[in-house]
């Protein structure tokens, strides 16, 4: 395996882990709002969250470029105010992946929060627990299987994200060239087949490991709960 291929693998893992970890708190918050909140414009929020799922990824990437590019309204502000730049950086790739994985993550977490009996939460309230404490000690632990499933889905989506990433941050080796971009590049050059196959194999192994890991985690949580 070439150094360039290794770089792509490492970068992909970094991007996927960052995208998942950074979006998880927001994912839980939005899932909770959609599951339990009663507010004006809820269906609008729901639609916005799901938009990346139904839009062509290239369109999502292009919208990110317009908004968060160096001259985009948000991108320019972030650069001026905090020195944060997303365009053509690995952080931009992570952002694109997070946006694409967000609907999957929110869906899984929302379903598991909706499955929790709200009467348990009101019981905790009558014992003196503040709503935030109830969330941390009752809602979150009980929705943990959904949170794990959501995180794994987001991670897997990030590992495979191509369209939005390449449109937003391009395909720069060592900076924004993730596994799918690297495989795509290799298939475009003569003699790149063996490299593409190696990366494909790695991609399969990583995805399967993630899935297996989540299964084991979910099972151990289930076992802990049944244990007497």
């Amino acid at each position: 395996m070439t150094a360039e291929e290794w770089t792509a693998v490492r970068l992909s893992l970094l991007v996927a882990v960052t995208a998942t970890a950074a979006s998880l708190p927001f994912g839980i918050a939005v899932a909770w709002l959609l599951a339990r909140g009663r507010f004006w414009g809820k269906s609008l929020v729901d639609t916005l969250v799901h938009l990346p799922l139904i839009l062509p990824p290239v369109v999502t990437g292009y919208l990110l470029l317009i908004l968060l590019g160096k001259r985009g309204p948000i991108g320019e502000f972030l650069n001026d105010a905090f020195g944060i730049v997303f365009a053509f950086r690995w952080t931009g790739a992570a952002l694109a992946c997070a946006v694409m994985g967000f609907p999957l993550m929110v869906r899984a977490i929302r379903l598991s929060i909706e499955a929790i009996d709200t009467r348990l939460e009101s019981a905790a309230g009558t014992l003196g627990a503040h709503p935030l404490f109830v969330f941390a000690t009752i809602t979150l632990p009980l929705s943990l299987p959904g949170v794990i499933a959501g995180a794994i889905l987001c991670f897997a989506k990030s590992m495979g994200e191509f369209g939005a990433t390449i449109t937003f941050v391009s395909n720069i080796p060592g900076e924004t060239q993730t596994l799918p971009s690297a495989i795509y590049t290799l298939t475009q050059v003569p003699g790149g087949d063996s490299g593409a196959l190696r990366l494909t194999a790695i991609s399969v192994v990583i995805s399967m490991t993630a899935l297996l890991g989540s299964e084991l985690l979910a099972r151990s949580i289930g076992a802990r709960r049944v244990a007497t």
Partner: protein, 352 residues
């Protein structure tokens, strides 16, 4: 402790309008299902915000819609034992019991002693188990302990025995009695069972179709209860035992009652519960009859309902209710003031 409720609340077509003041001890909210008992308790506990009115506990206003005041449930210090125990499934019994401990500090009261509560409810063997491995009766005992350990100033119980079978009920009732007698926490107890109310309550609030129809002491109010197992409560004392026939004689204001041998010693106070349909009336002192218990009294009031009528008797100050057919009432020409003899077919009783 005093609880002062005066609220109105509408939910769909159902309208609840309730006003009562409760005394220390156990106050029973009694009524048929759908009479608004649970809604009322949820309003006291802060789970429902009433449309209009006030709720006050010990002078502290919890709800006052006029002043736009609403104390959220986690700041009320009102414990709640639900019909479905609602134990936290991801926590052990011990963790469930200790859940409220984080919030009891700094409220001035003594922290309820964990060991004492575990002992009181007989749950020490369950502490490391998970809720789903407990029986229904065990779950309710843990739920009682969990509510108690949050150190509430008032305990709400919404039909805590309704989801249990007869044997489990008999298992839990003594624990609730011990709670009432030893823990000293006032209890608002929702039930549609006359037997439970007779056994536990000091004060009874009767709800019908969202309205309070009667409030008062259990001895005065229960005979008025409109229920299929309506009956009357007699306070009595164990007078003597008859070993040869295995009988116990109870002395009450209405007269002596003979019941199957009780294990209680002489002088023990017991509360006898006599169902209205277990009472027959006779104009003459009945002779050569198998029933052991015959009490003399006067007809106080007759409440007809369809083909039946509930006849309230005044037996030397004690109230006894008999459920007769309308035909019998006419045949015996029963009317207030008429002396009669009540033949009691069976007595159920609880120690009080």
């Amino acid at each position: 402790m005093s609880l002062d409720v005066d609220i109105e609340h509408s939910h769909g077509a159902f309208h609840l309008s309730a006003r009562f003041v409760s005394e220390p001890g156990v106050t029973a909210l009694f009524g048929r299902s759908g009479s608004g008992k649970t809604t009322l308790v949820n309003i006291v506990g802060g789970l429902i915000r009433p449309d209009r009115g006030r709720v006050t506990v010990d002078g502290q206003v919890l709800v006052d819609t006029e002043r736009r005041l609403f104390v959220p449930k986690h700041r009320r210090r009102i414990g709640y034992v639900f019909q479905d125990s609602r134990l936290f499934p991801h926590l052990s019994v011990r963790q469930n019991l200790l859940y409220g401990r984080w919030f009891t500090r700094g409220n001035g009261g003594e922290v309820a002693d964990f060991d004492a509560v575990v002992e009181l409810l007989g749950i020490s063997a369950l502490l490391d188990r998970r809720p789903e491995s407990l029986s229904g009766g065990e779950k309710q005992r843990v739920a009682l302990g969990r509510a108690l350990l949050a150190h509430p100033r008032l305990l709400l119980m919404d039909e805590p025995l309704a989801s249990l079978d007869e044997a489990r009920r008999a298992e839990i009732l003594p624990y609730i009695e011990r709670l009432r007698d030893k823990a000293g926490v006032p209890i608002l107890y929702v039930s549609h069972s006359v037997a439970e109310v007779a056994r536990l309550a000091t004060t009874v609030v009767i709800l019908a179709d969202g309205k309070v129809t009667a409030v008062g002491s259990v001895l005065d109010i229960l005979p008025l209860a409109d229920a299929s197992d309506a009956g009357s409560v007699l306070d009595a004392v164990v007078a003597r035992h008859d070993e040869s026939f295995q009988l116990t004689t109870l002395a009450s204001a209405a007269g002596e009652l003979q019941v199957p041998r009780l294990s209680a010693p002489h002088g023990t106070s017991v509360r006898a519960y006599i169902r209205a349909r277990d009472v027959m009336l006779s104009l003459q002192p009945p002779q050569e009859i198998s029933a052991l218990n015959v009490l003399a009294g006067k007809v106080a009031q007759i409440t007809p309902s369809g083909a039946q009528a509930d006849v309230r008797l005044d037996c030397n100050g004690a109230v006894l209710t008999a459920r007769l057919t309308a035909k019998s009432v006419q045949r015996l020409a029963l009317a207030p003031g008429r002396p009669v003899y009540a033949v009691i077919k069976s007595v159920s009783f609880e120690r009080s």
